[in-house]
């Protein structure tokens, strides 16, 4: 327990306050409900608590022991030792939000650098200090577009090939806005259709068009025609991106994106059972004042020393209140710091190297798997590090067999797209050795002979 008071100190303090017992401080709490007995087990010491939670952790299997071919929005990448080492410094982890800039320059400069790195990766002009994850960042893009058109445009065109969780969250958030309709990801659609479908839905009532790059099925498309269709109709164009892919591929700015969002977990953040993760949000210059969330700007102090502050705070909830366009208060501070350190350690060369390794290994794996009878790569579009395999057996059975051989198979797409039973989504990263890929293929061969 972390309460330092001794009996003597408590008595002195009660005397200073002028009451007899601590209980007297709670006289305003209705007597009938005061001091309930909580049905929670007795306190454990630190040693016992660690044993308890260790037992739970041990009940999990993880990408530590298993060869991981699972992606779908959370990727098994290598995080250099210095990342966790540095974010464990308590000056970073136990610091508060930098509302008092004079004593928060460490946090503020780190966020400023994060913003700069995101702009460099995405080709955008301005980035905020982060959102909770890629899904909520996508939802915030929807909110930005809704307010940008002063609520006069009510249509949101959303590609079915955007991550299903992101589509779900966008829809949950847009429920609060009158008359909004979200189209483009209807269940009857052929999941393998490309962006032409999206383009056909864009009209003058469209506020925002959202696509993913590479998309949820791993495919890479040239979205220039979609951007053009959006802009010809006066709509905004948003791309959801994978930051590792941007180490190799053209940035979204070159396709004409107005807003770029995505999930920063691949940048040195461990899988962590899905959170805490890192949403990033960047835009072209003209939308800077519409960006939700925290922004750090550069300035000087009274002696001309360079410093950083939270800026454009008048947009935010604590000032604008019900007129704020978003309610967001926290960012993902320490996680954004981790991503900043990761990108600093890898740098221009390192990120390119990781991206190329992912690409090469994924293409080798796709090639090898295609040679196993009963399995083939289903899409002909170029891909980065994820691809869809069609199988002649239920994915659940395949994955069960793989697990017996300590392999985490790909995602069962049948659970998300009704017409994709017996299809799985495989991801390959720099963490998958050739040996792991070859073993995967051998085990798959066994399955088809069963």
């Amino acid at each position: 327990m972390f309460i330092p008071h001794t009996d003597a100190e408590r008595k002195e303090m009660l005397q200073t306050i002028g009451i007899e017992r601590i209980e007297d401080l709670f006289a305003d709490v209705p007597a009938a409900f005061r001091f309930p007995e909580l049905n929670i087990p007795p306190a454990l010491t630190e040693m016992e608590a660690l044993q308890d939670v260790q037992g739970l952790a041990d009940a999990n299997e993880s990408a530590r022991e298993l060869a991981c071919f699972l992606g779908a929005g959370a990727y098994n990448h290598y995080s250099p030792a210095a990342v966790d080492f540095l974010i464990s410094r308590s000056e970073f982890s136990t610091a508060y939000t930098p509302y008092q800039p004079e004593v928060s320059q460490g946090t503020l400069q780190a966020i400023f650098e994060f913003q700069s790195l995101i702009c460099g990766l995405t080709g955008m002009d301005a980035s905020n200090a982060s959102h909770y994850d890629g899904a909520t960042a996508t939802a915030e893009a929807g909110i930005l577009a809704y307010h940008y058109f002063r609520e006069k445009r009510s249509k949101f065109v959303l590609s079915h090939a955007v991550h299903p969780d992101y589509r779900g969250v966008l829809k949950t958030y847009m429920c609060g806005y009158e008359g909004v309709e979200v189209v483009g990801d209807e269940a009857e659609l052929d999941p393998f259709s490309g962006p032409e479908h999206i383009t056909s839905l864009i009209d003058k009532n469209t506020a925002l068009v959202v696509v993913q790059y590479p998309d949820f099925l791993g495919r890479i498309y040239d979205y220039t025609p979609v951007a053009k269709a959006a802009h010809d109709n006066g709509a905004l164009f948003c791309m959801v991106v994978n930051p590792t892919a941007l180490g190799l591929l053209k940035p979204p700015s070159e396709f004409g994106a107005d807003i770029v969002v995505g999930e920063g977990q691949p940048l040195g953040i461990p899988l962590s059972f899905g959170g805490p993760y890192l949403g990033f949000f960047a835009t072209r210059k003209e939308f800077v004042r519409k960006i939700a969330g925290r922004l750090v700007g550069e300035t000087v102090d009274s002696q001309g020393r360079r410093g950083y502050v939270l800026t454009l705070t008048a947009r935010e909830q604590h000032i604008r209140r019900d007129k704020a366009t978003s309610n967001i208060c926290t960012n993902q501070g320490l996680i954004a710091l981790a991503a900043t350190i990761y990108l600093s350690l890898l740098g221009k060369q390192g990120l390119r190297q990781v991206a190329e390794l992912c690409y090469q290994k994924a293409h080798y794996a796709a090639d090898q798997i295609s040679q196993v009878p009963g399995f083939k790569v289903c899409s002909s579009a170029p891909f980065f590090h994820e691809f869809v395999i069609c199988c002649d057996q239920p994915v659940a059975e395949i994955n069960e067999h793989l697990l017996e051989h300590n392999i985490l198979g790909g995602l069962d797409l049948g659970a998300i797209y009704p017409s994709l039973k017996n299809h799985l989504l495989m991801a390959v990263t720099e963490m998958n050795s050739r040996e792991q890929i070859d073993t995967l293929c051998e085990v798959l061969k066994e399955i088809t002979h069963v």
Partner: protein, 130 residues
């Protein structure tokens, strides 16, 4: 506090100069002093558009506050002060002249009746400060 006598005022701190049936609108000296340093002005009303009384036509941001400027009268927008977004500090330095925001062709002269004259506005501001 400066309260020119040739203008009318809304309780929400907009001033109106009526010339014929054209109303020029901005925010008062009291408003700019409450906001402190203005860093951004966004005029959302568009020339040619019809605006309803009380609808938001301009948003002003300072470091510590953001405020909506509402149309004190209904009518057609004749002109907006484009330059203001480049030089937002004019709102602080010259709120009644250079920082005019919008000109509206007044549709209903009766809208002007609910506005305060300079003396009325000055004493209203006095009350609020206590």
């Amino acid at each position: 506090m400066n309260v020119p006598t040739n203008l009318k005022y809304a309780k929400t701190d907009e001033w109106v100069k009526l010339e014929g049936n054209v109303a020029t609108i901005g925010v008062s000296d009291y408003a700019q002093s409450q906001l402190s340093d203005v860093v951004y002005v966004e005029i959302s009303a568009v020339v040619g558009e019809h605006v309803a009384k009380n609808s938001t036509i301009v948003t002003i941001e300072s470091v510590k506050a953001a405020a909506d400027v509402n149309a004190p009268v209904s009518g057609k927008v004749l002109a907006v002060n484009e330059g203001l977004s480049q030089t937002p500090e004019l709102v602080n330095n010259d709120p009644y002249e250079a920082a005019w925001m919008i000109k509206i062709e007044v549709e209903n002269p009766a809208d002007m009746d609910s506005l305060l004259d300079a003396a009325g506005y000055a004493s209203y501001c006095e009350e609020r400060s206590h």
